[in-house]
Amino acid sequence: MRPVFPFSAIVGQDEMKLALLLVATDPTIGGVMVFGDRGTGKSTAVRGLAGLLPSMKVVAGCRYGCDPTANGARCDECRARAAHGDTLKSVSAAVPVVDLPLGATEDRLVGALDLEKALTTGEKAFEPGLLARAHRGFLYVDEVNLLEDHLVDLLLDAAATGENVVEREGVSVRHPARFVLVGSGNPEEGELRPQLLDRFGLAVDVRTPKEIATRIDVIKRRDAFDRDPDAFLAHWSKTDAKVRRSLEKARSRVETLQVSDEILERAAALCSQLGTDGLRGELTLLRTSRAFAAYEGASEVTLAHLRRIAPLALRHRLRRNVLDDSGSTTRVERAIAELWGDVPASA
């Protein structure tokens, strides 16, 4: 296995790191779309985060990585075994990060008839695809805006329903596929369909660092990593472990954290001020501010939390306004200032 650049060693790009940590805290937020320049460490951050995540329990021998504790979302095999009275042993496994290359074909994405078995033994067996491998982990699509439309449709369907239904070549399979979709892309190289964009919970813009000092740090760390990965990893393992601990704490806290009606009303007001369509924006605001409060170790979700994460959750949901060429982030911030005043309450 090739060494992975440590998450905590990434210089700057705080917003992207925060967004990834938030979806890792609460996967139901629904994925991150990272827009940005070339060479800004988009894929590095995703891989780094996966390397840092605490391992998870899976049903031993399950090809779909089922959760031993979740009764609802299980694959047919596990359900059959459970119904049969078998105890499902669990083993721990690393959280998967699956790359979806642009050249992927449909059969590899959703899974297909196992050709070899079919040809040699005549057995109709299902060979799980990338969606199965990504279950309970991350599915990363670089340059998602260039992905073939029919693959995007399949992705969206699975991401929305949390399961993958395959009806091909006489195989009929359905298995859980809950994954955090992380897409990256450069908007200059092809537009993303609005339907796809809307499915991402959060959106971040990353820019090439401009300050010389930051750039020097980037280069030095990258060079140190390239030259001696082991020493570099050892050096950063402590800070990575710290992030991991905060993440674990946040995950355990997020379930019990309550969001007051007042915050919900504020979220609704912001969405209506910005004219975002549908309820997805509000729901994402709710979940994201809760995850952020949990990550910060707060006992309740406050307006300051909401303020901080609102641009992340809303900037890609604004209707395109050709007249207003100020960026969408500015528009969100302006709306926040109009509603809740200029001076941000201290977080």
Binding site: G122, E189, K210
Partner: protein, 627 residues
């Protein structure tokens, strides 16, 4: 780059002075010293022989038996990244995978001719390879990851407005001309030295001050990419290794700045390098003085990293006064001078012009759009004839479940073969171009007399009949009162369209701005679907409802003009049919702002309008098709 006084063995009999190497041979040597770190080179308009000699030189300088592979321009995905080995799969009856060109080149050189024209899939695959040194196969039932540690040689053969995609350019360290290609003797002479340098590379140290200096130089020349300084750093290290040094020295950093940074420069540093007399008026000397390259200034003490003054101001502020305090030129200044000296004459002006024109982006989006058309999309059942291509894997899949049954035929000889029947055949399906979509944007307000409305309806009906034959789609958006309404999303359904048309109501205000916005949105959605949009506006242009829905002519007109200007940015073909009795100046202004063809149609009969639309459609087809 001159190449004549080449090879001066000075240090000892078998060590070549690195400073004497120049151009292609030095690039080849550096790539061979650090193939993983430097990625490759982009070669500007090479002649065939020279490109080959250059590539051969890299291959020869790499470890023994390094392969060399060429990626032909029309390469299929399965050959590029790997896929199913048809012959083996068929003869053995089990799925046999095959490595692609990239995996076969592992450890060697990949040549990409006409790299400005590669498809999206080839480009992204190559980007993945250069980033991760692997290629992931996830197609045709195969999931695998292959090592692809290669030096990429990209041959830029672009003409006129073509350009190599920035994502590719960004991922290789060098960009060069190969005018005089290294001959074999020259390559042989440095081969041992390159091998030794490769072994030594990991031990070459770099002082932090050089990292700082390279980053500052990168910034000063307006290079945004983070990869550029990283490449420069690696290049400096490889250069030091090649010269037999244990640490990066002035020469190495300068070579890196010259070879990696100079070709990437997008602007000339705003402030000139500090001239020797400290108090001189720096403002008066905008172009940096290229110093004589043969007498590089002595390296300063490496601790001299105090200059925080370096160009923080991206734009065009006055030169920094702290320069005056600097007794010696800093590392960054030396490198800056090296870069400036390496820039070809005339380039500076070009860069200035380019910067003021607002950058080099802008064409990429449109290009990708057209590439999206006609792309493969799965398979369907059918016979591979009449130009249809067989989708072998899907065919096998279709045949697979039946093998057990079919195998028991009268001849049991062919147990290992796959029995494929006619009904198993699958052919490749491609997304076809959906032709033109005509979007009618019809003013149904009170100011457009109801008679106009019926005329427009008549024209659309005529056009529908025609588009039925042409397989064009038609969409209908009406605007009146305070908003717009999509009466008919793009469709080919003639009957439905007629019904909607007949029922279209009229009366109310004229929200032109909102209408243009809605038309643009529809047009862009159409374009995303791979169809060519043509917008036909039928209105008198007399806007009286502003964008926010409030009445009032001045605000409404201002908004309409702004919407029209925004529309013009997207290059959508448009036709503005003025439906006022005598022609409305404001309609003409809006049409001009939209860059639409303006036609006055005082008393249009439907047939005349239909003819107009037809002409515009042909224009739209031609316009988009030629991009």
């Amino acid at each position: 780059m001159d190449f004549t006084e080449f090879l001066e063995p000075t240090l000892s009999d078998d060590v070549v002075e690195v400073r004497a190497l120049d151009g292609p041979l030095l690039v080849a040597a550096l790539l061979a010293v650090d193939p993983a770190g430097l990625g490759g080179a982009l070669v500007d308009h090479p002649l065939h022989e020279q490109a080959r000699a250059f590539t051969n030189a890299i291959q020869r300088l790499l470890p023994d038996h390094a392969p060399q592979r060429r990626v032909p321009i029309g390469v299929s995905a399965d050959r590029l990244i790997g896929g199913v080995d048809l012959a083996a799969t068929l003869s053995t009856g089990r799925l046999v995978s095959e490595r692609g060109v990239l995996a076969a080149a592992d450890g060697g050189v990949v040549v990409l001719p006409m790299c400005e024209r590669v498809s999206v899939s080839v480009r992204t695959t190559l980007s993945e390879v250069l980033d991760t040194a692997t290629v992931q196969v996830a197609r045709d039932g195969i999931g695998a990851t292959h090592d692809v540690r290669v030096v990429a040689v990209l041959l830029d053969e672009s003409v006129e407005d073509e350009a190599v995609h920035p994502a590719l350019v960004d991922r290789v360290a060098f960009r060069l001309n190969v005018r005089a290609a290294p001959d074999e003797e020259q390559v042989e002479a440095i081969r041992a030295q390159v091998h030794a340098a490769r072994a030594r590379l990991a031990t070459v140290s770099v002082d932090d001050s050089w990292v700082t200096a390279l980053c500052e130089t990168t910034e000063a020349f307006g290079i945004d990419s983070v990869r550029a300084p990283l490449f420069a750093l690696r290049c400096a290290r490889a250069h030091a290794a090649l010269a037999g040094r244990d640490a990066v020295a002035n020469d190495d950093a300068e070579a890196a700045a010259r070879m990696v940074l100079a070709p990437r420069a997008t602007r000339v540093p705003v402030e000139p390098p500090p001239p020797p007399p400290p108090e001189s008026a720096a403002d008066e000397t905008p172009p940096p003085e290229p110093p004589d390259q043969n007498t590089p200034p002595e390296p300063p003490p490496p601790e001299n990293s105090s200059e925080e003054q370096a160009p923080e101001n991206d734009e065009n502020d006055a030169p920094d006064e702290q320069d005056a305090e600097q007794p010696l030129p800093s590392d960054a200044d030396l490198l800056r001078a090296a870069v400036a000296a390496a820039l070809p004459p005339g380039l500076l002006e070009q860069l200035m012009a380019k910067a003021s024109a607002g950058g080099v982006q802008g064409r990429v989006g449109a290009e990708e759009q057209s590439l999206l058309r006609g792309r493969p999309r799965g398979a369907r059942s059918g016979l591979p004839r009449g130009g249809a291509r067989l989708h072998l894997l899907e065919t096998l899949r279709a045949a697979a479940p039946w093998q057990k049954v079919r195998g028991r035929g009268p001849t049991d000889v062919v147990r290992s073969r796959v029995a494929i029947r006619r009904e198993d055949f699958r052919i490749r399906r491609f997304v076809e171009r959906t032709g033109t979509t005509v979007i009618f944007l019809v003013d149904a307000s009170g100011s457009s007399a109801l008679q106009r409305l019926s005329e427009a309806k008549g024209a659309i009906e005529l056009l529908l009949a025609e588009s039925y034959a042409r397989r064009d789609r038609v969409s209908l958006i009406a605007f009146r009162g305070k908003g717009t309404e999509v009466l008919l999303p793009p469709t080919r359904a003639l009957a439905r369209a007629k019904k909607v048309l007949a029922a279209m109501p009229g009366g109310g205000g004229t929200p032109v701005a909102l209408a243009i916005d809605a038309g643009l949105e529809q047009a862009l959605a159409t374009r995303r679907d791979g169809s060519v949009p043509l917008l036909v506006v039928l209105s008198d242009g007399r806007a009286n409802i502003a964008r926010d829905g409030s009445p009032g002519r001045p605000a409404a007109e201002k908004d309409a003009m702004a919407a029209a200007a925004a529309f013009a940015q997207f290059n959508v073909s448009a036709l503005f049919v003025d439906t006022s009795p005598r022609g409305e100046p404001v309609a003409r202004r809006i049409a001009d702002a939209m860059r639409a063809r303006y036609v006055l149609l005082p008393y249009a009969d439907a047939k005349a309008l239909g003819g107009l639309v037809r002409t515009a459609m042909q224009l739209a087809d031609g316009g988009e098709g030629s991009r």
